[in-house]
Symmetry: C2
Subunit: 202 residues, 2 copies
DNA sequence: GACTTAAGCGGACTATACCCCGCTTCTCTC
DNA sequence: GAGAGAAGCGGGGTATAGTCCGCTTAAGTC
């Protein structure tokens, strides 16, 4: 009746076919994305491209936004690596303010590069506003904690700074003018640096 | 052939029936919103409630998000009034930092109160990310300009602060726990004050 | 007050996200 | 390697955003 008693540690490994399909789907999604842009990636189209059923696509990703979230997640992993164990000042080894500045710049580049996907990953009606940004928030939160900020609500501040960093790219700035992207990044990074240094100065 | 020569100043006033219908539609939208929540407001449902054709709804608002943008806009107007010509410190008459602090608190309340609508007004695939937030941005921009901030990029800073103010409520915080809303507002407002004062101190 | 014209209207039509549920395939156990 | 049970799959079904285009009607013109 009860083979392995309470085997609920890891609820169950993902089945091999499911894993295979996920890989196939993500690859297909990247193809479609590259070929036609995020707006043209449809669930049906993706299913067909991957030679799978539409139901499978939804089972994997839950929602359209989920696809882009998954894609973003993949890329995020690489980025996270650099942050957690890469060379300073982005990685550990530099002072917290310096790392915050570096993080902002790097994150900003990352978001500009992945802006299309990041935007598409936002799901208007998602009950939980997407775990997106959570990683940023935690990292900012950690670094802020290492700065001596008398009387500040570090959690709230981290939330606000994260929003200051990511919000503009996710909400306010048009995707259109990719032309001046480099200028924008530079300006943005500088402004972030200014903001962080103002907030953190004794 | 050319009756009034180039009468293109005001392109043409809105036709009476159109104006009437807009009012009807907005009222119907508020009813549906109150009765069933933003998620349940559909274009068809709205059209039916207003006893109008669906085409009319789209002609008026262009997009689903447009409805909520219009609703938000109405409320925004009242809010804006208080900011532009109400009593200080929110209105004119106080110092810029003081006004920024007051603005943050007021805006935060406003957004919490209208969070459902504000979120629904975000349109994932909008080419222009919604003029939303623009008003906030301009006001913050103006006040920041009145503070003496040596060497700061005031425009960029305004964008970031606006995002710090609005982003969390639009992107990161769940709508769910309306229970602790008051606490959240208070905490948020305090943190905003802290942020602004840190940024603006000499 | 009839005439003209363009704005407005309506609702059938299309595209697409998302649901559902019977069937298939994997995986684990003996 | 056979059996049992769960996980996964597929694709038809539904709901809804958004388009289109011929008809209606408001608002000036003579």
């Amino acid at each position: 009746m009860d083979g392995p008693v309470l085997p609920l540690g890891p609820p169950r490994a993902e089945r091999a076919d499911a894993a295979r399909n996920r890989v196939v789907l993500l690859a297909a999604a990247r193809e479609l994305l590259a070929e036609q842009g995020a707006g043209k990636v449809t669930m049906d189209g993706l299913a067909e491209r991957a030679s799978l059923g539409k139901g499978t696509v939804f089972r994997r990703f839950g929602t359209r936004a989920g696809i882009f979230l998954a894609l973003l997640d993949e890329d995020e992993r690489v980025f996270q690596e650099r942050v957690l164990s890469g060379p300073p000042p982005l990685g550990p080894g530099a002072g917290p303010v310096e790392r915050l500045v570096a993080y902002g710049r790097a994150r900003c580049c990352f978001l500009v590069e992945h802006q299309e996907v990041a935007r598409a990953a936002l799901d208007g009606r998602a009950p939980v506003p997407a775990g997106d940004g959570t990683l940023s928030r935690m990292h900012v939160r950690t670094l802020l904690g290492q700065v001596n900020l008398a009387g500040a609500d570090v959690d709230a501040l981290a939330l606000q700074l994260t929003a200051a960093l990511e919000g503009p790219l996710l909400l306010y700035l048009s995707t259109e003018d990719a032309v001046a992207a480099d200028d924008r990044i530079e300006r943005f990074a500088r402004s972030w640096q200014d903001l962080v240094e103002r907030v953190c100065r004794a």
